[in-house]
């Protein structure tokens, strides 16, 4: 599903964040991306989401070679990827419902379909009763679950998460990971960057480990 071949990423300030990276993630696989702070985890996820482009090498997602994807097609490409961020990236002047509905509104879904799918996603993360609230009225864990609902509401085949449990206590972190597992069980390819080693040691998934922009095996 995701194929990296000899990928380099050099930022405009000449800092090389990723060096000669090659790895594959199968369709329907769940994996963790770990490594010290500054190892290049976020950079790697940004290459997959086309927030950044590689300087060298090949990134193929699905059947799409990302280096040949024109800029105007990026929005449509991104609709196939759900992204969860550490700081949620919610819109604070819109209700929980409207936040989760955003990807569907953008994709031009009909009114009814939006209502149905948003409620299904909110039900899945256990926040159906909070759909009329503003994000500010929710706890950190709840906000993260809204972020997850938004990431999965249009049923993308790939789900990326960048330190989704970074600000949460162990109990809440486990709940969040549990959600990701559930999505993986219905066939979604899940790739989660985290440095919460204690948590992922207890889980039976593959780990892609980065060390200063290189694969550490």
């Amino acid at each position: 599903m995701i194929h990296f071949t000899d990928v380099y990423k050099r930022y405009p300030n000449n800092y090389e964040a990723l060096s000669g990276l090659s790895f594959d993630l199968d369709e329907g696989e769940m994996a963790f991306l770990t490594g010290h702070s500054g190892a290049g985890k976020s950079t790697l996820l940004k290459l997959i989401a086309l927030i950044e482009r590689g300087s060298h090498g090949q990134v193929i997602v699905g059947n799409q070679n990302l280096s040949s994807l024109p800029k105007r097609k990026i929005p449509f490409y991104r609709r196939q990827i759900g992204i969860v961020f550490q700081d949620h990236n919610l819109l604070h002047d819109r209700t929980v419902f409207d936040n989760v509905a955003l990807p569907l509104v953008i994709a031009g879904e009909g009114h009814r379909e939006i209502g149905r799918r948003v409620r299904a996603a909110l039900d899945k993360v256990g926040l159906l009763s909070k759909e009329r609230n503003l994000p500010i009225a929710l706890s950190g864990g709840e906000q993260q679950r809204v972020g997850i609902a938004r990431a999965v509401v249009n049923r993308p085949p790939i789900l990326l998460a960048d330190e989704p449990t970074g600000n949460l206590d162990p109990e809440l972190s486990r709940e969040i990971m549990n959600l990701f597992e559930q999505f993986n069980q219905v066939g979604v390819t899940v790739f989660v960057a985290t440095h919460d080693i204690a948590l992922i040691q207890t889980l039976p998934y593959r780990q892609v480990i980065l060390k200063q922009g290189r694969l550490d095996d």
Partner: protein, 304 residues
């Protein structure tokens, strides 16, 4: 297709709702735009009214022929008959030297002075009313020259030479209005552009998130363009209302003034015309301003 239109309508109302939620700021922007639009519109109404006023005078314009002193009344009558045949002349009115003197005596009240004069100093005159053909701007000058060249005529005088001056002034005013309208339109575009720019900057993080979940530039652009549309449209309406109120205040005194001059002139409002043109023009300017801002700033905001 209906789905597409429906979505546009939604965004349109959504943008209006956003303006509504910041009533003070929105009203200030709308007022600025309204004032910028009401100035050229008001001057346009003024100048149109001046034109129509000068056109009325046009038909009232007449030429006075001062006849040679030696001319006998019979010769004058003969001249009158000849002139009647001219296609450029509608009507003639002959007034003998004695009638001129009588009229002057009545008007001036200088009867005794006039009686003491050895002879009548006033000439006989013929007042010529040009036909529609003769009264046209291009032909009236020629007509005056022709009449001047007649041997029986001492002098032919167009009574309304100042009308020409009035017309040139009005033409100048109209050109000034055009220039002013262009400058103010530009300022409307820039004012709305700047307002939209600030709106874009204040929604920077929102735009990032929308791009992250797959929003196209077109989708992100749309509400800002509609915001520009609303500012311009409502500014145009504001201008219209202001203008109509002003005209309402002016029309009474103007008719009164016209009454003093024995005229039934009243202000022409162009209300319907401006009701169509002002909000429409405003909306066009608003969308242009929004385009300007969106084009410059939106693509700079990318997720990071």
């Amino acid at each position: 297709m209906t789905n597409y239109l429906l979505r546009h309508l939604q965004v349109m109302l959504f943008s209006l709702g956003r303006l509504w939620r910041q009533p003070v700021a929105s009203l200030m922007t709308i007022t600025v735009i309204g004032i910028a639009l009401v100035l050229p519109a008001g001057l346009f109404v003024l100048s149109e009214n001046m034109s129509s006023l000068s056109n009325r005078w046009d038909s009232a314009s007449q030429i006075t022929l001062f006849l040679q002193k030696e001319l006998t009344p019979q010769q004058a009558q003969q001249l009158s008959d000849e002139l009647k045949e001219w296609s450029t002349i509608e009507q003639l009115h002959y007034q003998s030297a004695e009638q001129s003197l009588d009229e002057f005596r009545q008007l001036s009240g200088l009867g005794e002075v006039l009686d003491s004069l050895p002879s009548n100093p006033l000439p006989a005159i013929i007042i010529v009313e040009p036909s529609d053909e003769g009264a046209e701007k291009a032909t009236i000058g020629k007509l005056v020259t022709q009449l001047n060249d007649l041997p029986q005529v001492e002098q032919a005088q167009l009574d309304m030479e100042w009308l020409q001056r009035f017309r040139s002034i009005n033409k100048m005013v109209q050109r000034g209005i055009s220039i002013l309208a262009i400058l103010l339109s530009l300022s409307v575009v820039l004012a709305i552009g700047n307002t939209i720019r600030l709106a874009i900057l204040s929604r920077e993080s929102e735009i990032r998130v929308m791009k992250l979940v797959g929003a196209t530039d077109r989708f992100i652009r749309r509400p800002f363009l509609y915001t520009g549309f609303w500012y311009g449209f409502l500014g145009g309406l504001f201008a219209w209302v202001t203008l109509v109120l002003t005209m309402g205040l002016l029309s009474g005194p103007v008719s009164e003034l016209a009454g003093h001059y024995g005229s039934d002139f009243s202000l022409h409002w162009f209300g319907g015309f401006l009701f169509l043109i002002l909000p429409f023009t405003g909306a066009m300017l608003g969308i242009s301003g929004a385009w300007l801002a969106v084009g410059r700033h939106l693509h700079l905001i990318e997720p990071s």
